[in-house]
Symmetry: C2
Subunit: 450 residues, 2 copies
């Protein structure tokens, strides 16, 4: 095999590269939510506030955001923590989402996408050297932002494994095993949870979240809840529960003690505004000294992009029934989410018809992470190329079909098991073709390798 | 003294707080450049491409940017290095600016404001522990981003002092003194230059830049040139010279060897788009291994905000003569720059009329950094309050006049000298009032302290 894709002038056996490697909805053709773009355009060029072609509710949102900006302009720095009225809207959103559990705008920090928030929180929590180096517990498979930031900060990555046989469930016994082993060589202080899961797509049930919170409370771990896929839940019987809500409902002993940071973003959900780099984090029970460090660290970077803050405002504060833009908004929202649910089911069903591929139910998020069984001959061939077998598989898939997916080794997986991550974002018709191609490729490759 | 400003309900002796502490032009009432906002609004809400109220040249720019975006949308992630066509526009801008010195788009990285670029480059250059810890040379006074990032990275801050008696000039003998002393306790690898100076407002002449480059070449230092005020030069006889251009003109021995990163931003100049967090860096002669690390580090944060990239494109690629928007653009640009020049002169003149204040010529940037002579009685009073004397002075100024400036101790200054930094961004009439108030305050304070 020669990976001819990277050689110029050689004819490829496909007409188009399909990038199913990154959760980038609009790059895959998803249209922006009209209302969000109208509001951001009005904020950008306020002359449009006089234009009859923009609805009044969009204009009102834009005026409110601009009033929160220095000089009424998106071009001014905001406070490092973000624009006040947007943090208030975020707090109201959280209260609605969590059935009335109070949220304080003072605990909300707007961020440059969720990645920035996660990296910032980890930065202030990590300290020490030698055996007292900070351990950060992360799921395996994980979204590789975590391993990268942990490595940048010279902290210790502490793996806990999700249970593939049980639809990637999180088992507290596995958390305990992982923690106890880690205590021998570092100081585990942070427990990261991704719910709904990336790359694994599971949605945690209430009982599981309670168990995790109890464990964090018992072990005095800082909980970091990556909840950027909170609007992406597809399976019947599954429901998103925020860590904040469950923590509150477990009573004051938990709610007043467990330190929790939770993250959201403009990039996922049904808005899919990745390019705006908008996000927020809500941080509860942070030690005042650490909070001071956080504020200082944020102020060095001045502020998150203000147009991303405006976009975040619309994510948490979309049109409501009775407003002029509501009917178009709800049509657009439901179209995106219904499509994603359909594509999640389609992907799971197609993969599970292929001998040698097994795919858990895609309960949420926007990825499939199927297990692929690679015959030993192909494994040897990969080793001869000094490549991980799943990396070799994905390179060959790209080479032969033009489909770009990410090998499981990029996310971590149990030794001897192989996977890839694929987004379900391409339009339905294109996704069907893609899945057919993967099927043919898998069958041919694994056969020919025997 | 009681710092009553922070107590609720107490009547203050002023009607308005004037924030002259941060270089935030639009917060001070500067209006955005129309063309930039039109292009960004068109990119945000492409329905406007059909609107007759937007000029064709703005539409063409918007179409070009959107063609560079995944799915033709600002909502997609860009490449981590930034959108290709915008990096090409940046390279063309640099070539024009530098009289034809070639610039390679591959060496351009779009960033989240200049701060992000500076922090990123320092991060990949800093390494080692103990006596081999990386030393980073910075001017004193400095923009405090540098000291903050150096401290975050656990590197060593190596101070070189600008010569206040000589209009804040940079003297290579002082660089040499600083470097030689630092070699005893760390491994100095990076030399940071801010030109035009922040907070000091000096503009380096050609000879000085040549000397600095020769020094960096001799000592194998990585040059970090913070050139975000390149469009803000006011004094007659002063001119901005980029380090890149001078490096090139010094010949291949220098141009092929000295490692240089230079930074620019949407936030300053005459556009003043701070909130967009747009910026770029051009990096020359970077070691391929370090370049690999840089690309990896950038990819973890996905990409800079795409609307900030679009804004950066207009900063480097504004309307040209013959285009529909040119006459309005040039009127707006000249109005901002002429006003800034006027305010620079006004500020310098007013300060130098006050006994006990001395202000160097504001050659560039957007700040005054006057030296203030504080009588010994006031110094003792400050010490009794456990405050630096200039901090005490600035707090009292705020308390009594509502004017917010930053004490020199936040930037660093020679022991026993005191300063503050004040922006020249308020509108002329407001600036005059502000300067009168500072004058009265200074005279009263220093008199009453005797």
């Amino acid at each position: 095999m020669s990976f001819a894709l990277y050689k110029r002038g050689i004819k490829k056996p496909f007409t188009e590269v399909i990038k199913a490697n990154i959760g980038d909805a609009q790059a895959m053709g998803q249209r922006p939510i009209t209302f969000l773009r109208q509001v951001v355009a009005l904020c950008t060029y306020p002359n449009l506030l006089d234009s009859p072609s923009f609805p009044e509710d969009a204009k009102n949102r834009a005026r409110r955001i601009l009033q929160g900006c220095g000089g009424n302009s998106l071009g001014s720095y905001s406070a490092s923590q973000g624009i006040n009225c947007i943090r208030e809207d975020v707090a109201s959103y959280i209260e609605r989402r969590d059935g009335g559990v109070p949220a304080d705008p003072d605990n909300i920090y707007l961020t440059t996408g969720a990645s920035d928030g996660i990296a910032t929180i980890l930065k202030i929590l990590v300290s020490g050297g030698g055996k007292s180096r900070t351990g950060v517990m992360i799921p395996i498979p994980q979204y590789p932002l975590y391993s990268a930031v942990i490595s940048e900060l010279d902290a210790i990555q502490v793996n806990y494994y999700l249970d593939e046989e049980n639809c990637w469930a999180l088992d507290v016994n596995e958390l305990r095993r992982s923690l106890n082993e880690a205590k021998a060589y570092c100081n585990p202080k942070v427990l990261c949870i991704i719910n709904p899961g990336n790359p694994t797509g599971q949605v945690q049930n209430r009982k599981c979240i309670e168990d995790v919170i109890h464990f964090a409370w018992e072990e005095k771990l800082f909980l970091l809840a990556d909840e950027v896929y909170q609007d992406n839940v597809y399976s019947e019987g599954c429901q998103f529960h925020s860590f904040k809500k469950i923590l509150y409902e477990m009573g004051p002993e938990y709610y007043n003690n467990v330190e929790l940071a939770s993250f959201h973003s403009t990039s996922k959900g049904y808005m899919g505004e990745c390019g705006y780099r908008g996000g927020y984090m809500e941080v509860i029970n942070l030690h005042p000294e650490i909070k001071g460090q956080l504020v200082k660290l944020l102020s060095v970077r001045l502020c998150p992009p203000v147009s991303g803050q405006a976009a975040m405002d619309i994510v948490v504060n979309p049109p409501i029934p009775g407003e002029e833009s509501y009917s178009q908004f709800i049509k657009e929202k439901e179209s995106v989410l219904n499509n994603l649910a359909k594509k999640a089911k389609l992907t799971e069903d197609m993969f599970n018809k292929v001998p040698g591929i097994h795919c858990n139910t895609l309960q949420g998020a926007m990825y499939a992470f199927p297990r692929i069984f690679i015959p030993s001959k192909a494994i040897e061939e990969a080793k001869a190329h000094k490549m991980a077998p799943d990396m070799f598989y994905c390179m060959k898939l790209l080479e032969e079909t033009g489909i770009c997916v990410v090998p499981g080794s990029g996310f971590g997986q149990r030794e001897g098991s192989y996977h890839f991550r694929m987004t379900i974002l391409p339009p339905v018709e294109k996704l069907k073709i893609l899945l057919e191609k993967v099927k043919d490729f898998h069958i041919n490759t694994t056969y020919s390798a025997h």
